[in-house]
């Protein structure tokens, strides 16, 4: 139910927050559908965020004060645009750094790139 279809959901479970925060850092204001489409386009459909995973994460990030919302009426429906708060900006940086670090460590650990590694 997390992110599909190319990679296993266990593998991608921990990265959804990072993906969302980083996208918003780069693009400013986005709404849910836009986020899913952007990820799909950027990864050539290798990673597709499912709706069932995206919205719970967005709501959780909002309640933690990482995101703020803006509601725009489109006819009878409401569209919620998400932007990073100041806290969200720094969390996005931290999350990206953490993931990069993690990827380097994994490369080292799995013996794909023996030179690098972190400690």
């Amino acid at each position: 139910m997390y992110i599909c279809p190319m990679y296993s959901s266990e593998l991608l479970k921990g990265t959804l927050k990072t993906i969302v925060l980083n996208l918003l850092k780069d693009n400013g204001r986005m709404y849910g559908y836009e986020i899913t489409q952007r990820v799909k386009d950027l990864t050539g459909e290798k990673i597709q965020i499912t709706e069932g995973a995206l919205y719970p994460t967005l709501h959780a990030l909002e309640s933690q004060g990482e995101l703020q919302t803006e509601e725009v009426f489109i006819g009878k429906r409401v569209r919620k645009y998400y932007t990073l708060t100041e806290k969200g900006q720094s969390t996005a940086k931290e999350k990206v750094n953490e993931l990069v670090d993690f990827m380097n460590t994994m490369k080292f650990l799995l013996d794909l790139e023996p030179r690098t590694g972190n400690g």
């Binding site: 559908y33 709706e51 919205y55 719970p56 967005l58 709501h59 429906r77 919620k80």
Partner: protein, 385 residues
């Protein structure tokens, strides 16, 4: 590009609601998302209803409510974490304060009360309620949730009862008794019978039930613990002895004398004695809840033994008893006055009734004090002849 009509928007929103999504924000998000998909991916020739039924499964594995459940889980996770932390800290604090409190109390050091109140208040008002909340989340089966929560609730009541008892606050007995009884005779059996049927829990359930039954039973047995029967018996004997001595006064004949002032003294002494007998009867009947017939039918010391333990006079002090006591004081003072003139050299004959503060006595001590006055009257009767 297709435009989603207002009717279709209403239809989709109704569908979302009907499938169990109740968080309004989430409803709006899903609605917009579905509309976006329809507008971007549906072709002019597609049928709206069919397309909608096809797009729905993209949002879930089994049903749409999963999204809401996942959202709630993420929203409460942080909260849950903080709760577990609070449970740990409050548990530690409660244990430390209660232990300190008991050590201080045993050593008679100042600060025992404060420490106890803090410890037990943290335990019963923070720790246990949080445990209920946590168990409600953690436990799988509904029965276990209810039984354990009931147990913690009973624990709250009982520990508050202990605290109240220790601090001599009102309402302690009812809290302690209801807590202990429901713990020992309701919670433990419930716990046992809901768990013993499950083979994996049987051993633990049995051991825990026996332990809890033991603790609960012992505490319950101690609840009504007062003085030992020996103490009770000796105070009853002391009272009987005193009363028997006093009763000799009624049997001894009044010696007729010619002096008017001594005759008047004799009359006053007898009158005061009657007043005291009637006051004692009022106190005993009111405290032991006896009718006049029942009281008259039983020996004085048996009625005395029926008095509730450590009952304060202030609890049963009504207008009648207070009035009677005032009469007794007044009469005693009159007798004292007469004694001072009739026997100016004998200061010891005067009974200092003002040294008795009846309202602050227990009922038993009050009765003994009154009987002491009767003893003194017996002496006066002998002298005034």
């Amino acid at each position: 590009m297709v435009k989603v009509s207002d009717e279709q928007v209403d239809f989709i929103l109704r569908e979302i609601e009907a499938r169990g999504v109740t968080i309004e924000d989430l409803q709006w998000n899903l609605l917009d998302h579905m509309c976006c998909i329809i507008e971007n991916e549906m072709s002019e020739t597609d049928n709206f209803d069919q397309f909608f039924q096809r797009l729905l499964p993209r949002f879930f594995n089994d049903n749409l409510r999963e999204i809401q459940e996942e959202t709630e889980l993420l929203l409460t996770f942080k909260h849950f974490y903080a709760m577990k932390k609070t449970v740990n800290i409050s548990g530690l604090l409660a244990a430390v304060f209660t232990l300190l409190g008991s050590v201080f109390k045993v050593m008679h050091w100042p600060g025992a009360g404060v420490s106890f109140v803090l410890g037990i208040a943290i335990f019963s008002l923070i720790f246990l309620p949080l445990m209920i909340a946590l168990k409600f989340r953690d436990e799988g089966s509904k029965t276990d949730k209810l039984v354990l929560s009931f147990g913690f609730l009973v624990g709250i009541v009982a520990s508050l009862g202990f605290l109240f008892k220790m601090m001599h606050w009102p309402g302690a007995n009812i809290l302690m008794l209801s807590g202990l009884v429901s713990f020992t005779f309701v919670y433990v059996p419930l716990y046992f019978f809901t768990r013993v049927r499950r083979p994996e829990l049987r051993f633990n359930a049995t051991v825990n039930s026996v332990l809890m039954m033991g603790c609960g039973g012992l505490l319950f047995a101690m609840y009504n613990l007062g003085y030992s029967t020996r103490v009770e018996e000796s105070s009853r004997q002391a009272y009987r002895l005193l009363n028997e001595e006093v009763q000799k006064m009624d049997q001894s004949k009044v010696i007729s004398v010619n002096r008017e002032d001594v005759k008047a003294l004799q009359r006053q002494v007898m009158k005061l004695n009657e007043e005291i007998i009637s006051l004692k009867s009022m106190i005993i009947r009111s405290s032991a809840k006896l009718t006049k017939q029942e009281y008259d039918a039983m020996p004085e010391d048996e009625a005395f033994a029926r008095l509730p333990k450590e009952e304060a006079m202030s609890r049963i002090l009504n207008a009648n008893i207070q009035h009677k006591w005032d009469d007794v004081c007044k009469l005693t003072e009159q007798i004292n006055g007469r004694l001072r003139t009739a026997y100016p050299g004998q200061k010891d004959l005067v009974f200092e009734i003002s040294s008795i503060d009846l309202a602050s006595n227990t009922t038993k001590i009050a009765l003994q004090n009154l009987t002491l006055i009767q003893m003194h009257l017996r002496l006066l009767k002998l002298i005034a002849s």
